[in-house]
């Protein structure tokens, strides 16, 4: 069973389409990175999957259930980018409210995690730092023992050490419990460390949805003369080409460098930025499909 499946999913706010023609399959048991520029529709997509927003058109399922259905709610935890918490409550009351709202609740996990983070249960939620609030939200999301975790830029307010710690914890949960994570972030470098599946969303449409390893294996950064870029289009599938004086840096879907070009492996950041620079280029499904323009 896939963690997420959408078919023709669309969401319109008045005259603006936030998400459009979204066909997406996210496998279970992986950390999936969801990236895209501001306004690309990441938050809308995650809110639809969390059952917080109804789509305008199309269908979506999370772990085989309709988002917002009792079965989906029991299996899916979500943290919105606004980190929704009751800020007037003490941490203990916030935890008690969460425990009351759920059939499954791992009080030991929550207790140990918060004491490891040094978050006192007597503290008011609103008095915690932004990072501590994000940690509290994440702790409660995982204490529900979900099978799918939807995270909308949860690390933005964390310092680098805390981000490392959270990512490590997530990886442990994925490895030990088979948790699926769909993770939206602007910091691609941190996603690179944990994500094994990549979804790039641009202007409300899915641009890339494929396994990270396959993408990295099938793309190369080519460095060569700017004057030869036009000829290169006949030899390889070019995602994007950047010219800097007489030299050009090309992101291409190819296994080997053509004659006259030097190649090196691409990083996930280069791959994402390359596709975002060229919104018409798409790779959906396992690499092997052609780039669609």
């Amino acid at each position: 069973m896939n963690a997420v499946e959408t078919r023709g999913l669309a969401k319109r706010y008045r005259r603006t389409w936030a998400v459009r023609d979204c066909d997406l399959t996210v496998p279970a048991g992986r950390v999936t990175a969801l990236v895209g520029p501001n306004g690309a529709g990441k938050t809308t997509l995650l809110r639809i999957l969390a059952g917080l927003t109804a789509p305008t058109a199309g269908t979506a399922t999370v772990l085989g259930a309709v988002p917002g259905s009792p079965r989906a709610r029991a299996a899916v935890s979500a943290i919105d980018q606004t980190v929704p918490l009751y800020r007037h409550l003490r941490v203990a009351d916030q935890l008690a409210a969460a425990r009351a709202l759920n059939d499954r609740w791992d009080a030991d996990l929550a207790g140990h995690r918060l004491s490891a983070l040094g978050i006192a249960t007597s503290a008011r939620v609103g008095k915690l730092s932004g990072g501590q609030q994000a940690q509290l939200a994440l702790t409660m999301a995982l204490a529900r023992r979900p099978r799918l975790l939807l995270l909308d830029e949860p690390l933005a307010s964390l310092d680098p050490l805390a981000r490392q710690d959270v990512l490590g914890w997530l990886m442990t949960c994925v490895a030990e419990d088979g948790l699926s994570v769909l993770f939206s972030s602007h910091v691609i470098a941190e996603l690179e460390r944990v994500a094994s599946y990549l979804v790039v969303l641009s202007a409300g449409r899915i641009q890339v949805a494929a396994a990270v390893d396959s993408l990295l294996d099938t793309h190369l950064a080519l460095i060569g003369p700017a004057s030869a870029v036009d000829d290169l289009y006949d030899q390889v599938e070019i995602v994007t080409a950047q010219r800097a004086g007489r030299q050009a840096l090309v992101l291409a879907r190819t296994g080997a460098a053509p004659r006259g070009w030097v190649s090196r492996p691409v990083t996930m950041e280069e791959l994402v930025l390359g596709y975002l620079r060229e919104p018409a280029a798409r790779v959906v499904g396992e690499p092997g499909l052609e780039i669609v323009r």
């Binding site: 059952g51 109804a54 009792p70 709610r73 606004t82 929704p84 409550l89 009351a100 709202l101």
Partner: protein, 327 residues
């Protein structure tokens, strides 16, 4: 929604809104206590002066005591009790305004609803599960408060020099049934305004307008309309008390003349001797009235209408939440 879900939501509501859950009954019960204390002091004074017999609509029942200086001292020409009655009636509205509206609107405004909706609870369960117990609590407290208000107003009317007449608007409103009905309506309108507007201050303004409109309609249209339904109609004498209701606590809904042909006439022509004119033209005089035994049924009907409007507001809130959950 299952009982288990309801219980879970109620427990969660306790953790989230403890101040309101304690505060609402506390406000009603403290106000009830104040009315009870004031009523008790007045009743003690009346009892100490052996003036209990004067506390009937027909002052002749109490005999000469009711002409005594003590009784005259008790009756103040001040209208203060009526002003307090208005304040008493405002309490359900204030509870709706300052506790009901923020209860929902603040969750939307702060985005905290996303926390609950991403737990094991859906939007509809969240709405009904948190609001239901609050409304129940507020209604029970309001009914107790209404009982105290009713008890207090029996004497307060006398003190204002307006004697007891159960059909007066203030007497009709200051009952447990009426105050509970207004509380249910206030809470339901608070829910609707919160769900529709989703921001605390604009929702409070909308709530004030909506409840004000309901109060206006109830006062100037619904109550007069209800008082005209199910009346006892009798032929009565124009010149004597024959045919008129025997109790002075009845409510005369309307009177009219009828021609020998059965046609209703509200006004007579200006003549010198009305009685002679009536006899000459074979007119009969009719009276339609509500006996005092109808009062409870009319109060029940009016409270039922308030609760029905409240049910419509709750259904509209649930429907709107389904159409527009969190956008």
């Amino acid at each position: 929604m299952t009982a288990v879900t309801m219980l879970r939501m109620t427990r969660a509501a306790w953790y989230k809104h403890r101040v309101s859950v304690v505060g609402i009954p506390a406000v009603f019960l403290l106000a009830a206590l104040a009315l009870f204390a004031d009523g008790a002091v007045q009743r003690h004074w009346i009892s100490a002066h052996h003036l209990g017999g004067c506390l009937v609509a027909d002052l002749t029942t109490g005999g000469s005591d009711c002409q005594s200086g003590a009784w005259i001292m008790f009756i103040s020409p001040s209208q203060t009790p009526n002003l307090i009655a208005v304040a008493v009636l405002a309490l359900p509205a204030l509870v709706g305004l300052f506790a009901g509206v923020p209860w929902v609107a603040r969750e939307f405004e702060s985005g905290a609803f996303r926390f609950t909706w991403t737990q094991g609870i859906g939007p509809r369960q969240w709405l009904l599960g948190t609001f239901g117990p609050l409304v129940l609590l507020a209604t029970v407290s309001a009914a107790i408060y209404g009982a105290a208000a009713y008890w207090w107003y029996q004497l307060a009317q006398w003190q204002a020099g307006t004697s007891i007449w159960p059909w007066r608007w203030s007497s009709f409103e200051l009952t447990p049934l009426s105050i509970a009905g207004w509380t249910v309506l206030a809470m339901a309108l608070a829910l609707l305004c919160g769900v529709l507007i989703r921001r605390v201050l604009p929702a409070m303004v909308a709530f004030t307008v909506a409840l004000g409109a309901c109060a206006y309609l109830s006062q100037f249209w619904l109550r007069p309309w209800l008082f005209g339904i199910g009346t006892v109609v009798k032929q009565a004498s124009w010149t004597s008390s024959a045919g008129w209701p025997s109790s002075i606590t009845a409510y005369i809904a309307r009177t009219w003349f009828q021609t020998s042909g059965g046609q209703r006439v509200t006004y007579l022509p200006a003549v010198n001797d009305v009685n002679a004119w009536i006899a000459q033209h074979h007119y009969t005089f009719w009276v339609a009235y509500q006996p005092s035994s109808h009062l409870i049924w009319l109060e029940l009907a009016r409270s039922g209408i308030l609760v029905a409007v409240a049910a419509v507001a709750v259904l509209a809130s649930v429907g709107w939440l389904r159409i527009r959950p969190a956008d």
